[in-house]
Amino acid sequence: MKNLLFILLVSVVAFSCKKTDAPAPEPLPPATPAVDTTGTLNIDISHVVNNNPLLLSSTSYTNAHTDTFKVDLLKYYISNVQLITATGYTYTEAVSYYLVDHSNPSSLQLSIKKVPRANYNSVKFLIGIDSLHNVSGAQSGALDPANAMFWTWNSGYIMAKLEGTSNQSGDPTKKITFHLGGFYGTNSSVKTVYLTFPNAAIVSESHTPIVNTKAEIAQWFSNPNVINFATTYAVTTTNSSSKAIADNYASMFSITSVVN
């Protein structure tokens, strides 16, 4: 770890010391990514419900089962971000763990750093945390169990959490509670997302593209599995209900635009 930090530091110093030529306004796609020059790519996430911006607690939405609901809390992990070029070159971010929390605006931008200069056409990531990091001991930062995204009694991260209320909820206090975890087996809540860009994201040391990404929260409850809040209102373990919702949220993301 110390060695790694040292290497990282050295590379930061090395890169920042390098005098770069004046960047061309539209960098030409290099044949192979120039790993000696790196830049940043930002993934901006906006949460919507049935295409309307998500507002916590105040606004009522309707799910595919025509139950009405409000969202009080929305948190989930994105990890293991990879960026892929047309030629198939793949940049894998080294330490890649993001806790997206709707109530914390800064968490809605994933800033992918040290990306080798290239034109990227697609992105791949996990919703949730890879199995290794579910078992490899006490972690910090986004993975600190103090973030309340960790199951203590059945070790592992809660990959995604949505809490709110619904008049149709089977719960006596009308709550809906979805804590989706489990990192192995058929009911795993970890999902791989692969999204292609409408146009290439051009990354260079002087150019930080923004990938505008939409997360449709109604998708958690609609497709392919319609969730009925009267019967499915509290999912806090890994089972067939958590699988149904995780299979749904696997396709909640779409790219709305890539701004270079």
């Binding site: 490899s136 009694w153 089972n239």
Partner: protein, 342 residues
């Protein structure tokens, strides 16, 4: 070591009358990772948690500090007592804050690095994770990790300990959990009579020898030497306790085939860690052995094949086995000052 020295020095400078016999902190300079001869490779090692005397001392201080509980009354050491091999003497199930009763018996803590999972149902996959369970259970310590981090950040007692262990006094849950793992992960017990006999430095009495032979024949497939556990989950036919209806391993996996299976416990220091079984239903070894293998009254569909086939023990054989089990008591471990509250 530096820390011990500094504290000694400080106490000398400040002129308070420290009895030279009573050191403020018991040194742990000789704490190191150990794999006794002939033991398998441990499942947890310190490669991501470099073991140091100061890390161990921080871990020990935390272990005996009630700061982890919501009302600051209960420490890890309240439930895990050294003289009971860090089990809880005479408590069938755990007693937490406000006198609340838990659902499970407090197991002995020893040789934890060889455990492939923790808790009776194996729900916890890493030694470093374990403290988050008692801290957050409402009927154990009833705290939140955030609040514990805050309380420890505000405690002047921890500043020098943190600086010694980690170079600065920043408190994170990761640091607390790693320090605790340095303490719990070095609770090695490998100096029982059994170990001495294995090394050829001692011999069994005739009865112990008979007991050992019976043990190898009837018990050792599950209670596998030298750790006395295979770390697997098995239903040994205990009747279902209606007070808890604890489905054991199935609670974690959700699989019907795991219903009422529990982790095979190690039997080291078993003489000292009564009561026995996951809900502490047996107060003595005789009681346990007379009921352990009847296979009746339990949950039949997942009953272990070996128990189904039947393990018969005469009263004499039971006594012989218990005589052998007593050779697993390790007085060095039970009295090692490095593991004591001080």
């Amino acid at each position: 070591m530096r820390l011990v020295f500094t504290i000694l020095l400080l106490s000398i400078i400040s002129g308070c009358s420290v009895d030279p016999e009573i050191k403020p902190i018991i040194a742990a300079d000789n704490i190191k990772e150990i794999i006794p001869d002939g033991w398998p490779t441990p499942y947890y090692n310190f490669s991501n948690n470099p073991l140091t005397p100061d890390g161990f001392i921080l871990g020990r201080t935390l272990f005996y500090d009630p700061i982890f509980s919501s009302d600051n009354t209960i420490s890890c050491g309240s439930c895990h007592q050294q003289f009971a091999a860090f089990a809880n003497l005479a408590h069938d199930v755990s007693h937490g804050v406000n006198g609340l009763l838990g659902k499970r018996n407090t197991p002995a803590l020893q040789n934890l690095n060889w455990n492939t999972s923790f808790a009776h149902d194996g729900g916890v996959t890493n030694l470093e994770f374990f403290p988050s369970v008692p801290i957050t259970l409402p009927y154990e310590m009833n705290e939140t990790i955030n609040h514990v981090v805050l309380k420890i950040s505000n405690s002047s007692k921890y500043k020098p300990l943190l600086i010694a262990a980690f170079g600065n006094d920043t408190v994170t849950s990761q640091r607390l959990f790693k320090a605790l793992a340095q303490f719990t992960g070095t609770m090695y017990s490998f100096n029982s009579k059994y170990d001495q006999v294995k090394k050829g430095k001692d011999t069994y009495t005739p009865q112990e020898q008979i007991g050992y032979n019976l043990f190898v024949q009837k018990c050792a497939t599950c209670h596998k030497e030298p750790l006395f556990s295979d770390y697997l989950f098995r239903n040994i036919g205990l009747s279902i306790n209606p007070a808890y209806n604890d489905s054991g391993r199935a609670h974690i996996t959700g699989n019907a085939s795991d219903r009422f299976k529990f982790k095979t416990p190690s039997l080291r220091n078993i003489e000292k860690s009564a009561p026995y079984a996951h809900d502490g239903r047996y107060s003595s070894l005789t009681q346990l052995l007379s009921n352990h293998f009847t296979g009746t009254g339990g949950y039949a569909p997942t009953l272990d094949a070996q128990i189904q086939a039947g393990i018969s023990l005469t009263t004499q054989e039971m006594n012989d086995i218990i005589t052998f089990l007593n050779t697993l008591t390790d007085p060095t471990f039970l009295t090692d000052k490095r593991f004591s509250e001080n």
